[in-house]
């Protein structure tokens, strides 16, 4: 065993076997602890950190369906009325141990509904400036009688960004973003606001704030930029203008200010996975030629747990199935001239794929900072295809986060986390983490469970579209010497699964799973 150590003794191994590797992580409920949030559902998160007036905070945004009159539910129905909002948040002033519910924003003038898909970031030049994004329905697309049943491109038409100047305690609307360009600009007539889905935010070192969405109507990724978090956002040129782009996008900014965007593009493959993970980077005012990272990736796969709860099957829908970050690279090999060989691993990524049995697994890999050269490692593969399991094992909803390191303090980190579904039939999921790391230059990652047997309680949307939160945030929140504490959010149904209606389930709250590494 190349990574054994003296302290890894037999008694420890026995204890480990008994207690199944969950001892290093702790889990705390973010919502559902107080009377207000206990009365509704909260799920699907993104998070950031802030520092304002001497107080360090972790801020998490979520789809906040805490009881409101503007959303009416019946066992098989949902009516969304004007002023409905899912744009809620909580914050922690003790690095994720306890949480305060921040509230929920009302739609701003001109907009009828705020419909979630949270994305958050913090200015790198003013740590008290926190930005939070939510999808939105403009007045012009909202019917007077409200919306019954599903929401789709007929109603959603942009996104609204709120800004906090006090580190995430209070938010105010900053700007709503909408693109009215028709599918063919030559048609001339503007739309009433194209359907934005997803949401990803990132901040640059000079104060720039970026927000990205998928424009479903145009099959394009739209990226918006505010130069300093005070001036309004303006739409950048499209990163993938010649492709049909889909999936919630993700964006990140490198330490040198280069913006990276990833999404999924349609491919000519005739098999069941005709999608590829694509990337581009924005430097000196222009996007570079897109790069294909990996072929045959999953786009919004469904996860059939095989089990039933309250008499109904558990089949979950999912959100974005890739994640990446930009951080500190490993040592470079001495011969730097060979074309096509990855020289640096500044960009590390995970993406979900499907094996021949239909089981989901993750591939992990790297790109150099120019994106000219990318590839994946067998030893950064998670799921049945890596372990040789014969009973069903699905691994999905990946997150990658890089901790950049501190001068004279903690060294850089590369962490991954993902959800795991095990067995032929189950009603629970696990949460696992791993380092996207190396031993003597050989890639290696050891999956470590940080939450096991988490009960699942989605609503009952049919055809495998049941909702239990589509994605979650993952970030470093604390440092102690050379140890770094990470928080990974996920949905919490530990209060029981007492109701599963078509568009509503109880209980769904937000929990934060924390570990030091």
């Amino acid at each position: 065993m190349p990574f054994s150590s003296a302290s890894n003794s037999a008694p420890c191994a026995s204890l480990a076997a008994l207690l199944l590797l969950a001892g290093c992580a702790t889990s705390g409920r973010v919502t559902g602890r107080d009377e207000t949030t206990r009365q509704g559902a909260q799920a699907e998160t993104d998070a950031t950190t802030s520092f304002s007036r001497g107080i360090y905070r972790v801020v998490v945004g979520f789809n906040d369906d805490t009881g409101q009159a503007a959303i009416e539910y019946g066992p098989t129905s949902r009516t969304v009325l004007r002023n409905a909002s899912l744009m809620g948040w909580s914050y922690s002033e003790d690095r994720g141990n306890t949480w305060t519910y921040g509230g929920r924003l009302k739609p701003p003038p001109g907009w009828a509904v705020l419909w979630g898909d949270p994305a958050l970031t913090t200015s790198k030049t003013n740590y008290g400036l926190v930005f939070m994004s939510s999808l939105a329905i403009p007045d012009g697309k909202f019917p007077a009688s409200g919306i019954s049943g599903y929401l789709d491109a007929g109603q959603l038409g942009g996104a609204c960004i709120a800004r906090s100047t006090d580190g995430g305690v209070r938010f105010e609307h900053f700007q709503c973003l909408t693109n009215t360009t028709p599918r063919n600009p030559a048609w001339g007539l503007p739309t009433r606001g194209n359907f934005y889905d997803g949401g990803s935010m990132a901040a640059g070192p000079s104060g720039e704030i970026f927000a990205a969405y998928v424009d479903i109507d145009r099959s394009q990724i739209d990226v918006w930029r505010s130069p300093d978090g005070r001036q309004p956002f303006a739409l950048l040129p499209p990163p993938f203008p010649h492709y049909y782009a889909g999936s919630h996008p993700r964006i990140r900014v490198a330490a040198d200010g280069t913006l990276y965007a990833m999404a999924v593009a349609k491919t000519e493959d005739v098999d069941t996975q005709p999608h590829a993970l694509i990337a581009s980077r924005y430097r000196n005012g222009a996007w570079e030629e897109p790069k294909t990272i990996l072929w045959r990736v999953a786009l919004y796969p469904q996860v059939d747990l095989g089990g039933t709860v309250l008499g109904a099957p558990l089949k979950l829908r999912t959100g974005p199935q890739f994640s990446f970050d930009v951080g500190v690279a490993s040592a470079e090999p001495p011969d730097e001239d060979n074309e096509g060989v990855v020289r640096r691993d500044s960009v590390r990524w995970l993406v979900t794929q499907q094996d021949e049995q239909g089981w989901l697994f993750l591939r992990g890999g790297v790109c150099d900072e120019t994106l000219r050269s990318c590839g994946w490692y067998e030893k950064w593969t998670f799921g049945a295809i890596a372990s040789g399991r014969r009973t069903r094992l699905d691994v999905f909803n990946p997150n990658v986060t890089a901790f950049q390191g501190l001068p004279f303090g903690a060294a850089p980190r590369w962490q991954a986390s993902f959800l795991v579904r095990e067995g032929a039939s189950t009603t629970t999921l696990g949460l696992t983490r791993g380092t996207l790391g190396y031993v003597n230059g050989q890639p290696l990652s050891i999956p470590v469970d940080i939450a096991r047997a988490v009960p699942v309680c989605p609503d009952q949307r049919p055809k495998g579209e049941a909702y239990w939160g589509d994605y979650d945030g993952f970030l470093p929140v604390d440092v102690d010497g050379d140890s770094v504490r990470f928080l990974r959010f996920m949905t919490d149904s530990s209060l029981g699964c007492t109701k599963r209606w078509s568009f509503l389930a109880e209980h769904q709250h937000v929990q934060a799973v924390s570990y030091w590494y």
């Binding site: 008694p11 420890c12 829908r317 490692y377 003597n440």
Partner: protein
Amino acid sequence: MRSLSQTGWLALAALSLTSCLCAPLERNAKAPDAGRIEDVSSVAPDPALLRQDSPGKIVQRLPEVESVGDCAPRLKYPNESRTSCIEGRPCRGFGVQDESGRVYCTCYGETGGCVEGKRCDVRRLICVPEDEPPGL
């Protein structure tokens, strides 16, 4: 006393578990340290271990043409689907014009659009069963 001793034993077990699980196998190392996982490798990663799939081909976007007439299929979920009337024929997808000027129906590269019983899904960019609902 009995419960106290049980508590003490459990605390000791928990401490042992923490020390053996949290510390040894997976620790970042600032300096070269054989046998430990490094987040940032102090030894250049072996490029021979980096794998690349055989490349496919990404569908190239073509200029879209407007739907003309009223022959577009009527679907249960019209806002999540692309339907149109192209060259006088129903299209489960949308019309595009290629470099030669030819106009045809496609569902994001699937020439001819989707077959009967399927719809061209705007989020997945593929043909899905016609009765598959949107999720939002």
